[in-house]
Symmetry: C2
Subunit: 396 residues, 2 copies
């Protein structure tokens, strides 16, 4: 092997193990490259019930595959009596369902942890809500005749790459009890907000697993295999585990922990993103969600969490898998404020005031904090220019 | 003024002057917050002639305004004989034009500078190409009857915020010679790729200025004012200047400098983004563009820029404002390679091998470098799992 311009010669040399940043280590060039590729929901876009195209968060492990619906085949096999091969047109001909689903990346909040696990450096914005249309997975599996010994269903996507030295297609499993339960509303989706899936959201086919973090929603879906043993592949047993140490087997990441986010009020400073509001009543609005059940309480605080006030919930029973809107009135008085919001769900989970740390940086649902300057200062005109509207009316 | 939980009391306290990062300063939390909000083009999306929705780069100075076409008014006034007030429906009723335009942020490449100007930390991906439809600005201005003393046209957007202590609506000007020249194809656009503008791209109206960096393409356009003096507002005379020192007045940022980018070949490692290819011929493809004129040459190098080989250009005369596709064949041999690509335009500008530094980090068109490991290693199966496809066929 020719190493003339570098010593690397195997995949292991360019694919390092997972690590945690040092105490004074800023965000690295590698983390920045991931942040520039993938993107979150700009928080003002929480104003939309359904996230407009391009504002929904995107996380791609490797590359967006170069796919077209022509020639695409989805195979369904393993521990089934009647294996299937379906193209997107055949799926569209089957009975369909549409569900409004709030989807969140399991790594949301990772970059706010100390020490910081080195990976996609999400702050709080890796979320979005869409109307997904597709074939109910439970119906598809029923059609195949699952055998009695089946325990899991494994989903393979076309996204191909290397991760911590392991070359792989992206692949994840679900327990059969989730995959085959009609009430869980799992979809093999071919449309997002009424249009074909965009490339970055899994075109032409993806899995949608309401209530679960994003890693379960396998994109660019090529294969569904029913198995009689639990799946132990990389994305199941190495990645996406809640562990305190590298040798801890850890618990799997599954359902979305509760989170509330607010639309940052007023207007921002470009660089610091600190908000500016005028004194007086300010309507705070936002969204809250949990994979464990309905959100039952949202509270806001203007002092960083010492005193909490209940917000009004605006639930939408037609969309049980989507976030819930909330609203509160805050009376702003001059000074620098630290607005905080937290959600509680029907299972009794409350968002923490201290970040729950784990080595992968998963499920950090630490409360959002928004720095707001309330100032009575009048709006200054741009000192570098007269107002161009002040131009004299022209002659004639 | 009540400073009970912080000393900040005025906008200047939360809005710092521009600065350059220290020698060992990693990317800061503020830069990361901008990187998480705004997003680039994942480089594999260079494969599309027209960038699909959601993959085109987005840079928003303040917040995406909460706009709707209902009630929106565009005023056109200043040094004109017949001021206009138009709603989006009135604009749609006027003769329209559609232009395919490659748009790039002036700050693209900023995060690769040393020292690094602290702002939106783009690497190389702040680009995209779309079909924009709207009313030619030259026709609109002709309709108003510009007076003889006019020199510039000032454009105001609804994006409101603070930047380096200055509260402002985003506002920029163009020389009249650019704004009123039909051959420059400037548009007041209301559609992107045949659909109404998405919120993050300026809904319901924006300016499109082919060949100019993104700062000129004012989004959420509310006002066009013709002036008889050069505009000296913040975004014109403070931001978007090429200066070596803070007190240097600098030259304005205008036309896009030439750049070529390649679709990174093979497949990536998740974290390092280093590519993996097998030995043998590899087709390299990508795009190249310049605001100064057509791209006349694209060259690739496998050794970081010591030896260059010409690529094939695939120009599309129907779309003179859009990027040009290019293609080259590279014979990969085992080892770690550093692919590089550079463009030359008709005005004789060649992409540099050393980054052109300025205090704002604008127009850094340093050549792209892509690290590629060529290895003959067979693809290893995921060692953590048997192939789920290997499940035995079920009984019966």
């Amino acid at each position: 092997m020719d190493g003339r311009d570098g010593s690397a010669s195997g995949v292991g040399d360019i694919s390092a193990p997972g690590r945690v940043a040092g105490p004074d280590e800023g965000v690295s060039a590698q983390e920045l490259a991931l942040a520039a590729r993938n993107h979150g929901l700009p928080l003002e876009a929480l104003r939309y019930d359904v996230t407009p195209p391009g504002l929904h968060y995107v996380l791609v492990h490797y590359d967006i595959p170069d796919t077209t619906p022509d020639g695409w085949r989805l195979t369904v096999g393993g521990r089934v009596r009647r294996p299937l091969v379906l193209d997107p047109a055949a799926l569209r001909a089957l009975p369909s369902a549409t569900h409004r689903v709030t989807l969140e990346c399991a790594g949301n909040g990772r970059a706010r942890l100390t020490p910081r696990p080195v990976s996609q450096p999400w702050l709080a914005e890796a979320v979005g809500t869409a109307d997904w249309t597709g074939v109910p997975l439970a119906a598809l599996l029923a059609e195949t005749g699952i055998t009695e010994d089946a325990v899991e269903v494994v989903f393979t996507g076309a996204d191909h790459g290397v991760e911590r030295g392991v070359e792989q297609d992206y692949r994840r499993s679900l327990p059969l009890a989730t995959a085959a339960d009609p009430a869980r509303d799992v979809l093999v989706a071919y449309a997002m907000n009424g249009a074909p899936l965009p490339p970055q959201h899994g075109s032409p086919l993806r899995l949608v697993v309401p209530g679960w973090y994003g890693m379960a929603h396998v994109k660019w879906l090529t294969d569904i295999t029913v198995t009689d043993t639990p799946y132990t592949g990389f994305q199941q047993s190495v990645a996406y585990r809640l562990r305190q140490a590298a040798d801890d087997p850890g618990e799997p990441v599954t359902l979305i922990a509760p989170r509330a986010l607010m639309v940052p009020p007023g207007f921002p400073d470009f660089m610091s993103r600190t908000r500016v509001v005028r004194p007086g009543p300010v309507t705070l609005v936002g969204r809250a969600w949990s994979g464990h059940g309905p959100v039952t309480r949202v509270e806001v605080s203007e002092d960083g969490g010492a005193v909490w006030t209940g917000a009004e919930l605006l639930p939408d029973p037609a969309h049980p898998w989507a976030w819930t809107a909330w609203r509160a009135t805050w009376t702003a008085t001059p000074g620098l404020r630290h607005l905080t919001v937290r959600a509680t769900d029907a299972a009794g989970h409350v968002q923490p005031l201290v970040a729950p740390w784990n080595r992968g940086g998963f499920a950090n649902n630490l409360v959002q904090r928004v720095e707001v300057l309330c100032t009575a200062e009048p709006t200054a005109a741009d000192p570098y220019a007269g107002d161009p509207h002040a131009a004299e009316p022209p002659p004639g």
